[in-house]
């Protein structure tokens, strides 16, 4: 395809992304330097880096940042290991395969806020798991500031593991059976053929799942909002903290909210730039 027709084909997509992503992003940078407030959005007095100084000295920001990093650090590895394990299990099964797939996919595609409520119901008063916990420990289980983080993380594992599982499972389906057989002929045991044949084959899938999972769990909002919302300030993620500062009717500091958004973006790009550069090189290599 020549350059001219390429430009006309990608023009609609690129203009949507320019007008609705690049320009808002640039606006965010500019508004983060102003003292815009929710009650009066017509005036935006310029105040320089004041918002950033304020955010960086706000304990609530650091608490949200720490919890977000903890959340990503725990959920992503667990979801990948569990997803890999389930994919390997299902790969050995042929009967009822699509039934298993449908059931295991469910937590991933259910509406996130609804999934959070479904999950929370098990732990609320009269819920199945809170009752079981009470049976074993003897004391009533109540969601409180000390265990809500645990519930948020447990819910995230329930919710996102199917994504890792299906992606890895799809990767396994493209593994040529002959290679496993060749390894078996050479006398490789199950574990060794897994390490030397299966795992290298899955490398690019695992890379993809890791990147997407890091992106998605870093910006977690829905489940934290439902679990912790107005009740447990110590368990806010960066996005929920951002929402409270910018859009809560009582606070409504839009300027400061923009500064939080920019700091959040810097955070994810510090983590992801090496991956992005690597993907760019791969794309260029594909073309030559």
């Amino acid at each position: 395809m020549n350059r001219k027709s390429f430009v006309s084909f990608v023009l609609p997509s690129v203009s949507v992304m320019t007008f609705l992503m690049v320009i808002p992003l640039a606006t965010t940078i500019w508004l983060s330097l102003t003292d815009l407030i929710l009650r009066d959005i017509d005036s935006a007095p310029f105040i320089g880096l004041q918002n950033y100084r304020e955010v960086l000295s706000d304990p609530a920001f650091w608490s949200a940042a720490r919890f977000t990093v903890l959340f990503v650090g725990i959920t992503v590895p667990i979801q990948m290991l569990l997803g890999l394990a389930i994919a390997l299990l299902l790969d050995r099964v042929h009967r009822f395969r699509s039934l298993y797939l449908a059931a295991i996919l469910l937590p991933f595609i259910v509406t996130p806020v609804v999934g959070t409520l479904l999950f929370r119901n098990l732990f609320s008063r009269g819920g199945l798991l809170s009752w079981l916990i009470e049976l074993f420990t003897g004391s009533a289980f109540v969601v409180d500031a000390s265990n809500v983080r645990f519930l948020i993380i447990l819910h995230a594992i329930w919710h996102v593991t199917p994504f890792a599982f299906v992606a890895i499972f799809a990767g396994l389906q493209t593994l040529p059976q002959e290679r496993l057989e060749a390894a078996a002929m050479d006398g490789a045991r199950t574990l060794r053929s897994f390490m030397h044949v299966t795992l290298p084959h899955l490398k690019s899938v695992l890379f993809f799942v890791a990147i997407v999972s890091i992106m998605d769990s870093y910006r977690v909002f829905d489940s934290v909002f439902v679990f912790a919302g107005n009740r447990f300030d110590n368990s806010h993620s960066l996005s929920v903290y951002n929402n409270v500062v910018a859009l809560d009717a009582k606070i409504g500091r839009l300027g400061k909210g923009h500064a939080i958004a920019i700091l959040t973006i810097i955070g994810i790009f510090v983590a992801l730039t090496p991956f992005l550069i690597r993907s760019y090189k791969e794309q260029i290599a594909e073309r030559t």
Binding site: V10, L117, F208, L254, H258, R287
Partner: protein, 334 residues
């Protein structure tokens, strides 16, 4: 030769999978049985797991303002509509012009929604359902429409700017919602466009576009170039070849990408909560209903959760293969 697994191994594998299935669907099952119980059984300290009386009261409270609505009549109307719709689609599958049948089926669904809304005294939630449907369908149409063009261009062009656009899109995919949502909110508010469905659709199309072009591009890469080259040799322009020759081979890719767009739009909470102060969709409605911890409305919240999840369950059952293929396409090539 694959060694056949022993009897014990097979039982072990199925046993482990059943545990995972139980863990996956337990929250849904638990909430389902909450939704059909009476409040006295839900509030019991020791859960009533068996032999309780069932009621549709929670569903009535969620969907209708008139609490004397006969739920059997509603159920009958819904089942009738489902039966007619699926018959039309199934008959249409054998026909060459299946799109005529699909349009007819869509019309039946639209008429059903209209009739239910005008015959019974429905609640706000019914408005939110209509909003959810309108926003989801519009987002899919616009996203896929422009995404097909973009994805095709990116699959066929070998210049460096193609790679740059793909990586920029990947970077956008990483951004949190708050990178765009506050400017959207401020602009919509100052233009008086809060609550507008068009603004919500535009916002969803934008955040979804990076993913859409990546996924469609992956599917386009599987279509052999010779196909459109032959058509262009016969005198078709690039665009004609694209529409008449390439698009018809893209059905699986379009279905898979549409499914993920459907999930994105139907499931979105934050954008709609911020951009629509009153004109909500179902997820915002249920959080307003059930966000608090009060056990008073717990059966209604449960009925809401089940009602919202039901269409999603239908989607998995009908389109499971396409979903798996879509996730695989992104993963294997991406």
């Amino acid at each position: 030769m694959k060694q056949s697994a022993s009897w014990l191994q097979r039982v072990g594998v199925h046993g482990a999978l059943l545990v995972i299935v139980a863990w996956s669907i337990l929250p849904l099952l638990w909430t389902f049985q909450t939704s059909i119980k009476f409040t006295r059984d839900v509030a019991a300290r020791v859960p009533v797991l068996w032999g309780y009386d069932t009621t549709a009261a929670a569903y009535r409270a969620y969907w209708f303002d008139n609490q004397n609505t006969n739920m059997w009549h509603v159920l009958l109307a819904v089942l009738l509509s489902v039966a007619v719709t699926s018959t039309i689609v199934l008959v249409g599958r054998r026909s060459k012009r299946s799109w005529v049948f699909n349009i007819a089926a869509t019309a039946v669904v639209a008429v059903t929604l209209y009739v239910i809304g005008s015959v019974w005294d429905t609640s706000d939630q019914y408005e939110f359902l209509i909003n959810s449907i309108v926003v989801t369908v519009a987002t899919i149409a616009v996203s896929i429409g422009i995404g097909l063009l973009g994805g095709y261009g990116l699959a066929r062009y070998s210049g460096k700017s193609g790679a740059a656009i793909l990586i920029a899109a990947l970077a956008f995919r990483a951004l949190p919602r708050f990178a765009f949502i506050l400017p959207f909110f401020i602009i919509a508010k100052s233009l008086g466009l809060l609550d507008s469905r068009a603004v919500i659709v535009l916002a969803l199309v934008a955040v979804n576009q990076p993913f859409t072009i990546w996924m469609l591009r992956t599917f386009f890469l599987e279509v052999p170039k010779e196909l459109e080259e032959a058509a262009m040799m016969d005198g078709a322009t690039r665009l004609q070849a694209f529409i008449r020759v390439v698009i018809p081979t893209m059905k699986p890719g379009i279905i898979a990408t549409s499914l993920f767009t459907l999930l994105l739009a139907y499931n979105e909470f934050l954008f709609i909560r911020v951009l629509a102060p009153t004109n909500w969709t179902l997820p915002v409605g249920i959080v307003a209903l059930a966000g608090g911890e009060s056990s008073k409305g717990i059966t209604e919240a449960a009925a809401a959760a089940i009602s919202i999840t039901l269409p999603i369950v239908v989607v998995i059952i009908l389109f499971q293969k396409h979903l798996v293929k879509g996730l695989g396409a992104g993963a294997v090539k991406g």
